[in-house]
């Protein structure tokens, strides 16, 4: 027997998309509009962000950060929590490149509009360039090495407030400095009267606008508060439904739902396959203290890669290195002397890469690296090695045979680093920045929604997250997700009088 509840607007997901929509629609509560956010993950108390690697990865990430693609050769990192993946990113806040939005060619979506909305959220989230005294050696060496290698190095604007430099951003900031939706947009929405229910998984959406929702009990000893609702099965009806469950969760939910949707649903999934590279310096550097991601080199247009500074934790570092045994251990023991660079390949949407659901309705990610994407990783690895050596590293650990490249071989990087060493199943590739699956476009033949997140043929259903992106964004996506979600919220406000007046069918439970 299900408990039934009725709302005017239900938002599924509370990350950069859902959190933004919640804030932007919150003023409607004053007019008597009932708004509910359903978040699959838990709500964490400040003191629960301990920075302990396995403990936090297990609490925050889907499958502890090890969500596997169907063929098991790549892991995908995305969070499940109040605030979604904004809890675990590094706060990097870039505005989409004009070229990329132009190449997306979505009718009605202009770069100038996205840039304006991005600026609004940049201000709201305290986005700024980190002051020089807070930059650590790991980042300074990237600038130094990048300039010596002839690259244009840019500083990341970040959305932190009172950053103490824990370096633990990817495990959830233990000092609540990062201004994700869990710190800014969701609390504002809740103060305005929006209801947020955590540990609530939406299983499907029916054509009569009834949502099947399962609220889970907090497992014994687990982090996070219990759900705001009693554990159990619910049927929730809404006049407007906004799906913001991310590039895997949103298409999977819609694929589970008996709705008349575009056949393109689940298609055009893409991401930024990423590789962590490390180099050893002759002396200790500050690396595991300070903001981890302050600079980047954008070669997306020319060479299909972006390099970013990064600093990871012992297990993630260990699993990202190629090989095993004594040489692997030697690099790990050099941790205080390690410089790290993250290589992001810019992968364009291809027909085979897509989201489906299995017999249990669980998402399955079909993803294979194309030759062009592998080439981006190879080029990025060579460029990172040049930066490392330019910064004075004595050796670089990279996918190569053998994986250690000494400084004396710095002139032979093209021969040492080749696609032969990037075979699936031999390199630790992890992707974040998941995109596509419910893409925007002109009509139902090749897209799921229009440029305002309105699902073709289902006027009460909207999508507001990175699943709308019709192709790779080629940079860190959070600010653009917020800008797109802001458009979705604007369209909902515009359509609200008609949609909120529409009659609802009674429960069939």
């Amino acid at each position: 027997m299900s408990d039934t509840r009725v709302y005017d607007i239900v938002i599924i997901g509370s990350g950069a998309g859902g959190g933004t929509v919640a804030q932007e629609l919150a003023p409607l509560v004053r007019d008597g509009v009932r708004i509910l956010v359903l978040e699959q993950g838990p709500r964490f108390a400040d003191h629960e962000f301990t920075g302990r690697e396995l403990e936090m990865a297990d609490a925050l990430y889907q499958d502890g950060g090890g969500f596997l693609t169907r063929d098991g050769t790549m892991t995908l990192a995305f969070a499940s929590a109040y605030g979604g993946s904004t809890v675990v990113y590094t706060g990097t806040s870039l505005t989409a490149r004009e070229r990329v939005i132009r190449e997306w060619a979505v009718p009605g979506l202009e770069h100038a509009d996205l840039a304006e909305r991005s600026a609004k959220y940049a201000e709201q989230n305290n986005v700024h360039l980190l002051e020089a005294p807070l930059i650590n050696d790991n980042n300074r060496l990237f600038v130094e090495g990048g300039q010596k290698a002839g690259y244009r190095v840019e500083q990341f604007p970040v959305n932190v407030k009172g950053c103490r430099g824990s370096s633990l951003c990817n495990l959830g900031c233990p000092n609540q400095a990062k201004q994700g939706t869990n710190r800014v947009q969701l609390p504002r929405a809740e103060r305005a009267g929006v209801e947020v229910v955590t540990r609530a998984e939406v299983r499907s959406i029916a054509p009569d606008r009834w949502l099947r929702v399962r609220v889970r009990e907090r497992p014994a000893g687990a982090k996070g508060a219990p759900s705001e609702w009693a554990p159990g099965e619910y049927e929730v009806q809404a006049r407007i439904v906004v799906v913001s469950a991310g590039a895997i969760g949103s298409p999977a939910l819609l694929l589970r739902s008996p709705l008349p949707l575009s056949r393109s649903l689940g298609h055009r999934f893409t991401c930024h396959p990423a590789l962590i590279l490390v180099a050893e310096h002759p002396h200790a550097i500050t690396n595991d203290v300070g903001h981890p991601k302050s600079y980047f080199v954008d070669r997306a247009e020319e060479e299909r890669f972006v390099l970013e500074t990064c600093m990871y934790f012992p297990f993630v570092t260990a699993k990202s290195l190629t090989g095993f045994g004594a040489s692997h251990s030697a690099i790990m023991r050099a941790f205080p002397r390690l410089q790290m660079i993250l290589i992001l390949a810019c992968d364009h949407a291809t027909p085979g890469n897509r989201i489906t659901v299995d017999a249990q309705g669980q998402p399955v990610v079909h993803y294979a690296l194309t030759a062009e994407t592998t080439d981006g990783l190879v080029r990025g690895t060579r460029a990172a090695a040049r930066i490392f050596f330019g910064a004075g590293a004595s050796r670089v650990h990279a996918p190569a045979d053998p994986p250690i490249i000494e400084a004396r071989d710095a002139g032979h990087l093209d021969e040492r680093i080749s696609s032969r060493s990037f075979r699936p199943g031999t390199v630790g590739i992890t992707a974040a920045h998941l995109m596509g699956g419910c893409v925007m476009g002109s009509g139902p033949v090749d897209s799921v929604t229009d440029a305002w997140g309105r699902v073709h043929g289902v006027p009460w259903l909207r999508v507001a997250d990175a699943s709308l992106f019709p192709d790779s964004l080629e940079i860190n996506p959070y600010l653009t997700i917020m800008a797109v979600a802001d458009r979705v919220a604007e369209a909902i406000r515009r359509d609200a009088p008609e949609l909120l007046a529409s009659p609802l069918e009674p429960s069939h439970a």
Binding site: D58, L168, N175, P314, F315, F324, P336, G425
Partner: protein
């Protein structure tokens, strides 16, 4: 030595120095990670470990857990370089579990000099 420990000390040679408590902790971490995975994956992993234990018998005349370290390394390297994706992927998954068990321990983080602290810069002054 169990087949899992034979793989573990080959992937991370320092694991051979672990005392009983250290092994308990490592194996508890791995067991926790496996328990959260689908039953199909758990069965595949158990099968892979059985295969890894017996395959070397045909090449070296001994099971994996009875091989000397050099031959264990050579055998696992051949899996890592295998033409068959299923073998490369299987070894990669097992290697990941070993690294999680070993480097997921607080003692290992201290041993390699990892010092991240919630207090950030303040903790270094």
């Amino acid at each position: 030595m169990t087949p899992f420990r034979a793989v573990a000390v080959t992937v991370v040679p320092e694991a051979a120095q672990l005392d009983a408590g250290g092994w308990d902790e490592l194996e508890r971490i791995v067991a926790g990670a496996i328990a959260a995975r689908p039953a199909r994956l758990r069965r595949q992993l158990a099968l892979l470990l059985r295969c890894l234990e017996w395959f070397p018998l045909f090449r070296y005349g001994h099971r994996l857990s009875r091989l000397d370290p050099a031959r264990r390394t050579a055998f696992l390297s051949s899996l890592q370089r295998s033409r068959l994706l299923i073998l490369r992927r299987g070894f990669w998954g097992l290697r990941t579990l070993v690294l999680m068990g070993y480097y997921g321990r607080r003692a290992a983080a201290v041993a390699i000099g990892y010092r991240a602290d919630a207090r950030g810069w303040e903790a270094r002054r």
